[in-house]
Subunit: 132 residues, 2 copies
């Protein structure tokens, strides 16, 4: 169903919400700022307001539909939450974001938490990199 997950979040299935969700679904693994989403959706179709984008993204985040990231550049970016954990690598020169998953790192983090007497609940790791 098209707006099933929107409805499940207790939100009405409206055009702006569908547009935002569908755009993110078409671009899984990529990250967009509110302004980029605004521009993209404006280009491909109708009259959407930037404020609405922000409102919808906040509601989606609350509902667990999207993940919000605050990388080092001031602007927050959003991506669809596919439920599959991954970490991020940010090219500090181009701003490009790559996702990656490394079993060794994950295991090491578990081990580290235990070493300090904790259980690992969640983590975030961002590598800031530049091209060699």
């Amino acid at each position: 169903m098209k707006g099933e997950n929107i409805k499940e979040a207790g939100l009405k299935v409206t055009l702006p919400r569908l547009q935002v969700l569908e755009f993110l679904e078409k671009n899984v693994g990529k990250h967009f700022s509110a302004d980029e989403l605004f521009t993209q959706i404006r280009i491909s179709s109708s009259e959407i307001g930037l404020a609405t984008i922000y409102r919808v993204l906040n509601q989606f985040e609350e509902a667990g539909l999207v993940i919000k990231h605050q990388f080092e550049n001031g602007q927050a970016v959003y991506e669809l939450d596919t439920g599959e954990h991954h970490d991020h690598m940010v090219d500090v020169e181009s701003g490009e974001v790559k996702e990656f998953y490394d079993e060794e790192i994950e295991a090491l983090q578990e081990k580290l938490a235990k070493k300090y007497g904790y259980e690992l609940v969640d983590h975030s790791m961002v590598l800031y990199v530049k091209k060699l």
Copy 2:
């Protein structure tokens, strides 16, 4: 010497710069937003401008005297760069923050960046944990 590291950064040793640096030196391991520094320095002494705080912090960051962190709340925070890198472990139940350093993780991050054709410039890692 008091303003030695300021001078070494190619900056003139001025009152605002000394005040910011000394405040951070008195609070190693803690993090402050520009606004908090502004308020704190205003309370304890003289007429300093918020814009100056921002300028000084940017210069200090450039010079490697302070580290800037962009946490999840929009406001950037700064801490003195003691030269000792560390990551953070946050107890999700108590809110307590532990700093830690692990050679194996550091090496693995370098390796990972290389694997994707990048040079590691910086990284941030936060482990969210709870007591076992």
